[in-house]
């Protein structure tokens, strides 16, 4: 059977550190990484070699936060091009904007999607996490208290453990 192609995407910094802690979950897959920092490429290749995994493919996209509209548009275009080229079966992200874009458009191209909200959001889901609700097949928080249902019809994220 054909290997699953997994796209793991996160912005640089804490989001990336958290995504990396889950990487054994997609061992054995045809893995594609996307992030906003070129410096992560080498570490990924070394880790794959050290753990006997095939070298993943790596794409860097432009960094953007929610106030940088032009950069966000550029980032969206770059992500879409990679999605079209790679056509992942599964997309997994810890955030932030880049992850949301990948889930949103990846879903349209037929990928199944996982959102693991950053553990830095202990009070509410992150902004990108809230937006990702509609396009995440698996929508997870890392805080158990955020998954507990309250009065009302608000959909709560699932809790299945944390990255640390």
């Amino acid at each position: 059977m054909k290997k699953k192609r997994v796209l793991a995407i996160a912005s640089a910094g804490g989001h990336w550190v958290q995504l990396q802690r889950m990487r054994i979950a997609w061992d054995g897959c045809d893995t594609v990484y996307m992030t906003t920092k070129e410096e992560y490429r080498e570490g990924l290749m070394q880790d794959a070699a050290a753990r006997g995994q095939p070298a993943p493919r790596f794409y860097r996209v432009v960094a953007a936060n929610r106030w940088q509209k032009f950069r966000l548009v550029r980032q969206l275009v770059e992500i879409t091009l990679v999605l079209l080229r790679e056509r992942p079966d599964v997309i997994v992200s810890t955030g932030a904007a880049a992850g949301f874009f990948a889930l949103k458009f990846g879903k349209i191209f037929g990928a199944r999607t996982i959102w693991v909200d950053s553990i830095a959001n202990a009070e509410t889901m992150s902004l990108s996490g809230q937006k990702a609700r509609s396009c995440a097949d698996l929508w997870l928080t890392q805080w158990e208290h955020l998954s507990e249902s309250e009065a009302g019809n608000i959909t709560r994220p699932d809790f299945k453990g944390s990255v640390v």
Binding site: M1, K4, V6, G13, G14, H15, V17, Q18, R21, M22, R23, I24, A25, W26, C29, E39, G43, D89, V90, V92, R112, I114, V116, S118, I119, A120, N121, A122, E123, D137, L138, L140, Q142, W143, K160, G161, S162, V163, V164
Partner: protein
Amino acid sequence: MIFVTVGHELHFDRLINAVDDWSLASGYSDIFGQVAELGETGYKPQNFNWSSFLNPEEFQTRFKEADLIVAHAGMGTIITALTLKKPLVIFPRKGALQETRNDHQIATAEQFSRREGIYYAKDETELGLVIGELIAKPPAQMNDIVSEFAEPRLISTIQSFIFEENMRKGTE
């Protein structure tokens, strides 16, 4: 040695200033600070060595050499402290002071302070007290074993989601 880090995104004057004041008052100067880009206005420590940025290897080295970490509530730092079993004092950035976009760092600090080896200092006065106490009486080696990877339950949840269409026996 105390390693102070504010992450690479934004300088954090209130933290660096408070550590600088504590250093002067206590006479303890075996401190290194990673303070981010300070520009014209950012606070420059007077009583200890510092640099704006550290590459990943330098960051790891400083971390490993330190007896105590003092930091904003950044996840990279918290995860590294847990993994390397270093005592960590968290001094969260406040949204109201425009130190970050909102008060998420306060919530992070409150939640993580329940874990062994993580301390939460609410303000500058408390920060000096907590650091002083931890330097005077270093905490015992931590038992909390933190793996290089996420919790097994999270890993297996993601794995079964990825492989769910070919989990039947006889397929690969």
